[in-house]
C-alpha cells in the first residue's frame, strides 16, 4: 500500500480525502492526516453561527473523530507540520516525529491577514489580549468569552467576515462599530450603490459603520482603549476584531522549497509544479494565477485531485472556477458574480434599487452574455443568473426578466430550469443533480434529503431552493415528514391520537406506553415528554418509573453545566420574610454555596449544590420546592400592588400569591411563567408572560396569554377582561388546562397561542362555545389536588442512590491545547471536574 500523507485537516483536506475514499482509496493508500487544530474537520463557515449563538460548537463538525478511525485514517490532530523533506520524502512535525510518504497533499488553507497597526502586538506578549482574529473555533471561543464582559467592540474590515463578526458579537450586548478602509462595504463583491444599500441594512441592525477609515493604531497599554484612524480621529472601544482579509498559508511549502507566489503553484491536476508526488488543494493554492477564498472552488478541486491521485481518471483536469457567491451576510441575502461595474463603453448595465427595503439588483451584459450580477436583499433570481453566468446561456430580450419573475408560474420553473450540474448548496457543494438523485433514490422528505446530502446545512441561504427542487423532483409528492407531527419521536402518533390510545388502553406508565404503542421499543428521547403527558392525564393514578424521568425530575433540582444543581425554594409572588432569608443565608453558609443569585422570577437561587447534599439542604431550608427545574408552572411574578404602591389599582401581590398557591408545580408541555401587575405600568412584566394579569381602572383585570421575553419576544394577546380575582383564577385554570391538553411537547405558549388563534381560544375558554369549560375545570381541580411537595422525598429517597453523585473525581484528560508560542500546554481543565468528596458515600 502506498502511504498518503495530508497536511491540513480543514475543509479542503478532509473533503479531498472523502473523495479519495469514494474512489476506492482505502484499498490503495494508508492515509495519515495532520491538522494543527486539535479536532476533526468542522464547517468553518458555520463559525459565524457559533459566534451568533445560533448553533452549538458540537453541531458544526463534518468529520467526527470516529469517522477517521472507521475509514482507517490515522488522524494526528493538534500536530503541526514544520517542514517537508522532498528528497527523503518525509514530513517533520512539531512533536519531533518524522513521517514518510509516497504521495503528499498540502491543504493548509489560509490565515487571517492582519495589517500593520501600531499597538496591536506586543513584541514579547503577542497580540494584545483584547484583539482577536476570526478563523478558528479557538478564535470564536475567545471572542465570545471576551465580549461577554466588555462593552464596545470595533471590527476592522467590512467584507464578509467583518460583517459576520459584527452581527454575531451583537448577541453579547456589546456596541459594535464596523470600520472599513474602502468607500463601501463588501467592495470586492458589490458596486458602490449596492454597498450603500447594504450599509443601510446593516445600520438598521444597530451596527455603526465607518467608511474610508484606515485604522493605524490600537490605543491602550494594558487594556484596549480605542482605535485611531489615519486621519487622526479616534473611537473608544475595549475590544478589537481584525477581519481584514486572509492570506494563503504557504509557510511550510516555502520553507521546503516548493514554488510559491501568492500561494502554492499548482497545475491543472492540482499537482505542485514539477513535483510528481505532491499535490495541493484549497485556499493555499494558486491555479492559473487565481487564488480563492470561498468553499465552492474547493469542491471542484477535490474531485479532480481525487480522480488523478487514485488513477480513476488520470486526465481529469481543473480549469478554474468562476466564483459566483450566494451568501447570507449578517442576516442579509447577498449574491454576486463576475464584474461589479460596467467596464466597456457598450456593456449593458441594468439596475434596480429599492433602498427602503434593502433591495438592490444589477446585471452587466456584454455581447449578449451575462458577465456580472449583484443581488442584495432579494435573491430569488439567483438560480437562473448563476447558470447564465456559468454557461453563457441566452438571455431574455426583456432584460428586466433577469431581475424579476414577471407573472407566470415562477418558482416551479426555476427549479426545473436549473441544470443538473448547477450547484445549489455552495457551503457543502451539493448540485441539483445530487438532490434529484437522492429523491429518486427514495428519500421523499425535505429533512431526509437535507440529512443525506448536507444541502442547506451551511449558511442556510439555499434552503428554499432545496425545498423547491425536492418538491419538483418528487413530482409534487413530497412527503411531509411524518415524524414532525409526532408528540415524541419514539411513538408514531400526534398528541390527540396518542392521548386517545393511552386512554383506550389505560396506559399509566411510560413502559406500558412503549410496550403497547411502540412494540416494546423504548426510546430515551421520548421519555420526558411521555412522563409529562401521563402525569397530566392520570394525576394521582400515574405509575411512576424513576428511570423515565429526566435527572432534574429525579432529584427535583436543576442540573448545571458542571453537574452540580441549583436549588430555588418557593417564594410565592416574590414575597419573603426575614425568617426565610435567615434560613437561606444559614444554608448558603453551611453548604458553602458558591453563588446565591436573585432570579428573574423574584426568587433566590442557590447554585452549585452537590447532588448528595440536596436532601439535607431541603431539610434545613424547610421551604417547599419552587419548581425551577421542570417543565411546569414556575412562578408568578408580582409588583407591590395596592397596599403600598401609589399607583396600584388592584392587589396584584395577593392575587399573584393566590394563583401560585393554586397552580404550584403543575406539569405542562413546557415551562409556564406567570405574572400579575397592579397597573398598566407593567412592573411585573405581565405583557410578556405565558399568562399575565394586569389590573386596570374600575377594579377590573385583563388577562394576556402567549407572551414571552426570552430568546423569543412576544407581547401576549388579550384573552379577556374580568371583574374579580375569582374570575381571573377560573380563566387561568381553564387556559392552563387547555394548553396542557393540547400543546405539543416543549411548545411554549408563544407558539401555541398563535397556532390555535386568540379568537378561537377566547371562544373556547371565555365564551365556552363548545362546552369544554366544566371538563377543563374539573380536570384542573383533580390535577391541583394531586400536588405534593417533591422536596419531601429528601426525607426518604424513593430509590437507592437517588442522591448519589455521578460526577468524576478528577480532572479529565482532554486534547492538549496549544499556547500562542506553539508549545503544547497541559490538558484543558474540564468543566465539572473539581468535585471534592467521595462519590460512593451519600446513598441515604
Amino acid at each position: 500500500m502506498e502511504r498518503l500523507v495530508v497536511i491540513g485537516n480543514g475543509m479542503a483536506g478532509a473533503r479531498t480525502v472523502e473523495e479519495i475514499l469514494e474512489r476506492g482509496g482505502r484499498d490503495r493508500f494508508s492515509i495519515t492526516m495532520f491538522g494543527e487544530e486539535p479536532y476533526g474537520n468542522y464547517n468553518r463557515i458555520l463559525l459565524s453561527n457559533v459566534l451568533s449563538g445560533a448553533e452549538d460548537e458540537a453541531g458544526i463538525f463534518l468529520n467526527s473523530l470516529p469517522w477517521y478511525a472507521e475509514n482507517g485514517i490515522t488522524l494526528r490532530a493538534g500536530v503541526r507540520i514544520d517542514r517537508i523533506d522532498r528528497f527523503a520524502r518525509t514530513v517533520h512535525a512539531d512533536d519531533g516525529s518524522v513521517t514518510p510518504y509516497d504521495k503528499l497533499i498540502i491543504a493548509t488553507g489560509s490565515r487571517p491577514f492582519v495589517p500593520p497597526i501600531d499597538g496591536m502586538r506586543n513584541p514579547k506578549r503577542g497580540y494584545h489580549q483584547g484583539v482577536f482574529t476570526f478563523r478558528t473555533i479557538e478564535d470564536t471561543r475567545g471572542m465570545i468569552r471576551y465580549a461577554r464582559d466588555h462593552e464596545r467592540v470595533v471590527v476592522i474590515g467590512g467584507g464578509l467576515l467583518g460583517l459576520e463578526a459584527a452581527r454575531g458579537l451583537q448577541q453579547y450586548g456589546v456596541a459594535v462599530t464596523l470600520v472599513h478602509a474602502a468607500g463601501h462595504l463588501m467592495n470586492s463583491q458589490l458596486d458602490a450603490q449596492g454597498g450603500a444599500i447594504l450599509r443601510k441594512s446593516v445600520e438598521r441592525l444597530g451596527i455603526a459603520v465607518e467608511l474610508d477609515a484606515r485604522t493605524n493604531a490600537v490605543l491602550g497599554k494594558e487594556k484596549v482603549e480605542g482605535v485611531r484612524f489615519a486621519d487622526g480621529r479616534t473611537i473608544p472601544c475595549d475590544m478589537v476584531v481584525v477581519a481584514a482579509g486572509i492570506r494563503p498559508n504557504t509557510e511550510v511549502a516555502e520553507l521546503s522549497g516548493l514554488p510559491v507566489e501568492r500561494a502554492i503553484l499548482v497545475d491543472d491536476h492540482l499537482r505542485v509544479l514539477d513535483e510528481p508526488d505532491i499535490y495541493a488543494v484549497g485556499e493555499c493554492v494558486q491555479h492559473r494565477g487565481q487564488t480563492y477564498g470561498l468553499v465552492a472552488p474547493l469542491w471542484d478541486q477535490a474531485k479532480v485531485l481525487a480522480d488523478h491521485i487514485t488513477g480513476r481518471n488520470p486526465t481529469a483536469s481543473y480549469h478554474g472556477s468562476r466564483t459566483a457567491t450566494k451568501l447570507k451576510v449578517a442576516g442579509v441575502d447577498v449574491a454576486a458574480m463576475g464584474i461589479t461595474a460596467p467596464e466597456r463603453e457598450d456593456d449593458e448595465f441594468v439596475v434596480f434599487a429599492e433602498p427602503r427595503r434593502g433591495v438592490y439588483k444589477s446585471v452587466i451584459i456584454r455581447d449578449e452574455r451575462l458577465v456580472g450580477a449583484t443581488l442584495l436583499g432579494d435573491v430569488s433570481k439567483v438560480g437562473f443568473l448563476m447558470q447564465a453566468f456559468d454557461r453563457g446561456l441566452p438571455l431574455p430580450e426583456e432584460r428586466v426578466r433577469l431581475l424579476f419573475d414577471l407573472g407566470g408560474p415562477a418558482t416551479e420553473v426555476s427549479a426545473a430550469e436549473l441544470d443538473d450540474a448547477a450547484q445549489v448548496c455552495n457551503c457543502n457543494g451539493v448540485s441539483k443533480g445530487a438532490l434529484v438523485s437522492t429523491v429518486h433514490g427514495g428519500v421523499k422528505t425535505l429533512n431526509g434529503v437535507m440529512d443525506a446530502t448536507r444541502a442547506g446545512k451551511g449558511c442556510g441561504s439555499c434552503r428554499s431552493l432545496v425545498a423547491q427542487i425536492v418538491e419538483w423532483a418528487a413530482g409534487g409528492e413530497v412527503e411531509q415528514d411524518p415524524s414532525a407531527a409526532w408528540y415524541v419521536p419514539g411513538i408514531p402518533l400526534d398528541k390527540p391520537a396518542l392521548m386517545t390510545a393511552i386512554r383506550e388502553h389505560g396506559l399509566k406508565s411510560v413502559s406500558a406506553v412503549f410496550d403497547t404503542l411502540a412494540g416494546g421499543k423504548e426510546d430515551a428521547k421520548s421519555k420526558m415528554g411521555l412522563v409529562s403527558l401521563l402525569r397530566m392525564m392520570w394525576g394521582d393514578e400515574y405509575e411512576d418509573e424513576r428511570g423515565a424521568r429526566f435527572i432534574n425530575d429525579r432529584v427535583h433540582a436543576n442540573i448545571q453545566r458542571d453537574g452540580t444543581f441549583s436549588v430555588v425554594p418557593q417564594m410565592k409572588g416574590g414575597v419573603t420574610t426575614p425568617a426565610q432569608l435567615r434560613r437561606i443565608a444559614d444554608v448558603a453558609d453551611k453548604y458553602r454555596v458558591p453563588m446565591v443569585k436573585l432570579t428573574g422570577g423574584q426568587r433566590i437561587d442557590l447554585l452549585g449544590i452537590r447532588k448528595e447534599d440536596l436532601p439535607a439542604v431541603w431539610a434545613d431550608l424547610d421551604m417547599p420546592s419552587g419548581y425551577a427545574y421542570g417543565k411546569s408552572m414556575r412562578t408568578v411574578k408580582t409588583c407591590v400592588g395596592s397596599d403600598f404602591c401609589r399607583f396600584g389599582l388592584g392587589d396584584s401581590t395577593a392575587l399573584g400569591i393566590a394563583i401560585e398557591s393554586k397552580f404550584q408545580g403543575l406539569e405542562s408541555p413546557a415551562k409556564m411563567k406567570l405574572a400579575v401587575t397592579g397597573c398598566p405600568r407593567n412592573c411585573a412584566e405581565a405583557y410578556v408572560k405565558d399568562l399575565g394579569v394586569v389590573a386596570i381602572e374600575g377594579g377590573r383585570w385583563e388577562i394576556y396569554v402567549g407572551g414571552a421575553a426570552g430568546a423569543h419576544i412576544r407581547k401576549g394577546d388579550l384573552l379577556a377582561t374580568v371583574d374579580s380575582p375569582a374570575a381571573v383564577i377560573t380563566l387561568t385554570g381553564r387556559f392552563l388546562q387547555y394548553y396542557r391538553e393540547n400543546a405539543n411537547w416543549l411548545e411554549r405558549t408563544y407558539s401555541f397561542v398563535p397556532r390555535v388563534g386568540i379568537e378561537r381560544l377566547r371562544a373556547l375558554i371565555v365564551d365556552d362555545t363548545e362546552d369544554l369549560g366544566e371538563g377543563l375545570d374539573s380536570r384542573m381541580e383533580a390535577a391541583v389536588g394531586a400536588y405534593r411537595d417533591p422536596w419531601k422525598e429528601g426525607q426518604e429517597p424513593v430509590v437507592p442512590g437517588q442522591f448519589r453523585t455521578a460526577l468524576p473525581l478528577r480532572s479529565l484528560p482532554l486534547v492538549p491545547v496549544r499556547a500562542g508560542n506553539g508549545a503544547v500546554t497541559g490538558p484543558v481543565p474540564a468543566v465539572g471536574s473539581a468535585v471534592a468528596g467521595p462519590s460512593n458515600g451519600g446513598a441515604q
Binding site: 458540537a58 470516529p66 423504548e522 430515551a524 424513576r546 429526566f550 442512590g801 478528577r810
Partner: protein
C-alpha cells in the same frame, strides 16, 4: 479478555434501580453502570467526552444513553456516539452472587 482485565466488585445490584444508572469509582476510572429494563447491565465510562457531563444521570433505553447536559447520545453496547462525539469506553459487567462486577483493563 479475562487475562487482560481485572474485576472489581461494586456492591449489591439492588443499589442500582431498574432503568437508571449510578456512577462508581473503580481504580482510577469512573464507571457508569446501568440496569436496563430487561434486567441486563451495561457499563461505560462515566464522563461525557463532550463537556464532562455526568453520564450516569442520563436517560437510557435498551440501546443508548443520552447525556443530561447537552443531550449527546451514545450506544451503551459499543460506546459509540450517534451525535458525532468521541466514544465512551465500554466495560464488561455482570452479577455474581447479587453483586455487581465490572472488568477494567488490568
Amino acid at each position: 479478555m479475562t487475562t487482560a482485565t481485572m474485576e472489581h466488585r461494586l456492591g449489591s445490584v439492588t443499589a442500582l434501580p431498574v432503568g437508571e444508572g449510578r456512577a462508581y469509582p473503580v481504580g482510577d476510572e469512573m464507571v457508569a453502570v446501568f440496569r436496563l429494563r430487561n434486567g441486563e447491565l451495561r457499563a461505560v465510562s462515566a464522563v461525557c467526552p463532550h463537556a464532562g457531563g455526568p453520564i450516569a444521570d442520563g436517560l437510557i433505553d435498551a440501546e443508548v444513553v443520552m447525556c443530561p447536559l447537552h443531550q449527546h447520545i451514545f450506544e451503551l453496547a459499543t460506546g459509540c456516539s450517534k451525535t458525532g462525539q468521541p466514544p465512551l469506553k465500554v466495560y464488561p459487567v455482570r452479577v455474581d452472587n447479587d453483586e455487581l462486577v465490572v472488568g477494567l483493563p488490568a
